[in-house]
């Protein structure tokens, strides 16, 4: 029956371009990283992000069963069905992906949480949860597929719509946009980046860097909605994004398992060693920029705002910030399947407690 879109194996052929190598370091083919056929509008930016996720996880060689995909509600939040079909997923309620993700990683800290959200899902209804998750530094790759509108409900402005951006019907948005990257930095987020769904290379490098990070990694990705926000006058259209995308640096990534020495001219590249030993290489383009300096990142984003520049790149990294499971001093093993002896104190403990109330 056609209204039943398959969400399980057998997975469809990969939507990404034919892989250069057949198997990744785990010996898995790319098909192990794809999902169901997308039901989004053809040309939707979200599908490009899906492809980049597939590619990055394949390249990095993550075992699919270790991943938990979490999302809210929206066209963007549907995408976890379209990648990593061999991972568990939870498409929750609107704006509440962070809570579900937090619960899941607390239950099982071995899970690699990938949260997908939309700009409406995150910056409108979900703003509080987004910010509190960031504040807690919950280990999760948090992807905002940012098109400035509510796609699934047919094109209303979201809170990331730029001041002065026009709707398809020609109405102009009067309010300043929420800049989720600026907010995240403000709250101490230790991995904050922005990309554009039209830049597959940049996205893939960022996803890999995010995989190497511990804690919340925020990726705010401008992802045009071809159906409702791709017109003249929109500041989230393909054309606008292409014309205004200013990459901050060129991002290279050397995973921990490839012990490669990379040559670069001194001063040309900023290298950051990630938590798992991978290295992120940021090759300078127009400006000198140190993504480990928080004040600099704040200034950078404020300047970009006033100049209405669509800056992309990794704005801030701090590979050392303790994540939420560490803050909570959890045991090393996942909580969810600790044996009864470790979660139910023995009888003498109950006796002791009872004595205290006698």
């Amino acid at each position: 029956m056609a209204t039943t879109t398959p969400a399980q194996p057998p997975p469809p052929p990969p939507a990404a371009p034919a892989p250069q190598k057949k198997m990744n370091r785990l010996g898995l083919p790319l098909e192990h990283y794809t999902g169901s056929v997308s039901t989004l509008c053809s040309g939707c930016g979200h599908d490009s992000i899906t492809n980049a996720v597939i590619r990055a996880f394949f390249d990095y060689g993550i075992e699919p069963h270790r991943v938990a995909k979490l999302s809210g509600i929206g066209c963007s939040s549907k995408t976890p069905a379209y990648f990593l079909g061999r991972s568990c997923g939870f498409n929750a309620v609107h704006g509440r992906m962070p809570a579900i993700a937090t619960g899941a990683v607390l239950a099982n800290r071995n899970l690699i949480a990938v949260g997908v959200s939309g700009d409406g899902d995150t910056a409108s209804i979900g703003l509080g949860q987004f910010m509190h998750m960031v504040r807690r530094n919950v280990p999760c790759i948090y992807i905002i597929e940012n098109n400035g509108v509510y796609g699934l409900t047919k094109g209303q402005f979201s809170a990331t719509a730029d001041e002065g951006s026009a709707s398809k019907a020609g109405h102009v948005n009067d309010q300043p946009p929420m800049d989720c990257c600026a907010l995240a930095i403000n709250l101490g987020c230790a991995f904050v980046a922005r990309s554009f769904s039209g830049d597959a290379k940049q996205m893939q490098a960022m996803f890999k860097a995010a995989l190497a990070h511990r804690g919340t990694a925020l990726l705010d990705i401008v992802s045009p909605c071809v159906t409702f926000n791709n017109h003249e006058g929109s500041t989230k259209s393909y054309k606008y994004a292409k014309d205004n995308d200013v990459p901050l640096h060129e991002i290279g990534f050397v995973p921990f398992f490839e012990n490669i020495a990379v040559d670069y001219e001194p001063g040309s590249t900023k290298e950051v060693t990630m938590h798992d030993g991978s290295r992120v290489l940021l090759r300078k383009l127009d400006r000198d920029y140190d993504p480990t300096n928080r004040l600099a990142s704040i200034q950078l984003l404020e300047e970009a705002r006033t100049q209405k520049e669509l800056l992309t790149g990794i704005f801030y990294i701090n590979p050392k910030a303790p994540d939420f499971t560490e803050q909570l001093h959890l045991v090393a093993e996942p909580l969810y399947d600790l044996p009864v002896e470790r979660v139910r104190p023995p009888k003498p403990v109950l006796d002791e407690i009872m004595k205290g109330y006698m």
Partner: protein
Amino acid sequence: MPVDTMPTPAAAKAPSSGKPVINDFSIQVATANGSGSQSSNNVLLRSILQMGIPVSGKNLFPSNIQGLPTWFTIRVSKDGYIARRKVSEIFVAMNEETIDSDITDLTPGNVLIWNSDLRRTVKRDDLIEYPVPFNKLSWEACPDPKLRKLVTNMVYVGVVVHLLGIEIAECETALKKQFKSKQKAIDLNLNAIKFGVDWAQKNLVKKDPYRVERMNKTAGQILIEGNTAAAIGALMGGVTVCTWYPITPSSSLVESLIDLCRKYRKDPVTGKTTVAIVQAEDELASIGMVLGAGWAGARSMTATAGPGISLMSEFVGLAYFADVPGVIFDVQRVGPSTGLPTRTSQGDILKAATLSHGDTKHPMLIPASVQEAYQFAQDAFDLAEQVQSVVFVMLDLDLGMNFWMSDPFPYPTKPLNRGKVLTKDDLDRLGKFERYRDVDGDGIPYRTLPGNPHPLAPYFTRGSGHNEKAQYTERPSDYRNLMNRLAKKFETMRDMVPAPVIEADPKAEIGIIAYGTSHWATVEARDQLRAQGVPTAYLRLRGYPFNSQVAEFIDKHPRLYLVEQNRDGQMQSLLSLDMPQYATKFRPIRHYTGNTLDAAFIVENLRAQEKGGHLGETQWFGPRGH
């Protein structure tokens, strides 16, 4: 204390003669919030308990931190009754703000111990009065002005101790309990009590009949709040993820759990903890985390009250539709809205049972005692995982925040029941897996947990339409099948929630149904009715959905009374919807004032209805045509 202005035709009369009344009266103490009177009251309570006499304590406190009126009631009952009594024979008036209205409200013949240093204008000549210059005494008893307020409270303990004949040695033991091993505090307070005793000995002439005498009815008993009991239950139930947002009267449940886990849930080797307790930013987040954790296989819980229940509505509907487990402790307070946050009610019963938009139903466990709070807390985790559903544990402020006497809790004998979870090995063996197929015919499907490496294991959970394979669908028959399976699952739960407790009486034409804390007043009311020649049978509900015993009980008794603590008869609604054939049979006895229920209210209401009389003010909004 704030009295219920409903007419009280049969209010208990206090004896005005000198005939001694032993171990059968109530003491009420009026103080101000935040004045430290809670320690004094606890010491008084414990001292009596340690003398082997059954006691219970109820705190009527304001939604405020400091300075507003508070009333603490200690009931002393040789027969072991622990519900509130309508009238307290002994009143200790320590709060200037309420002294006049408090005294006005006393019943003739009551004993009044009052702070004669306060401005009092109301005069009465029908009370047994003991004026005590507490302010002056505390000046004398305590040179340090910072501690004086606390000491005042212990001085009144001394006066009461003397008048009632409480053993001073038991006060000392109680003080040690209260202040752990802080010897300085123990000494200071003990001296204040002794000071009060001495003063009373020298200055007061005993004019009232009330006394305590040692009994042996409390040996080995504990005195504990229901919230603490539930927390111990959660600890023993193997909770691994607990999220919360502070709200009265549920906060102390989680705060107790935090304290317990700090001590008892640390890995002995690494010092790390085996439980994640998270103070969320609000209740939408706390329930979301519970469900994320439940989905990923943890035993997860949150505790909240009415406003939190409302905020959790959307997520609880998701859990229903997608078979996600989790435990919610609802410590009920008076609604609607903020209502009376520090007063008790059973006002969320219907609301929790039907929470969320669309067709939804959720199971509830309803403890009446601290022991059940302990037990059901454990059961809730088992049930949640067994049926893959949100399970509500419905406490109330009375149970949760008052002190209750109890046998010590038994160590659990059953292993944890983790429900229908398929491991990698199971999948190897079975060779197939469909997340939402009703394999066993009980409406409960099998699940895998994220992280299971078997290629069949992963599935996609969603709150939108899904078929048995967990695939997205909008197909009408898929939707209907899913909804029918969920309804069947709910049927399966009828015999999985705690069964009702029935006290049959073959002679009884009257059946009484009650639940939760209404139990205690009901027990006492039944004894009173029996004494009046009105035998009753009794069924105490402990779970929803109902099992077949409930219908049998209703059927068996020509007249059926339903006691609850809300206006709209929320349990009556659930019973009527489940058993429409009895919908006209229920005779409501509904108490909704924020005060705890008392036996007299039940007896009066029941007898009035037996006489065919009016139901008082409750009648006109009761069911139509009834």
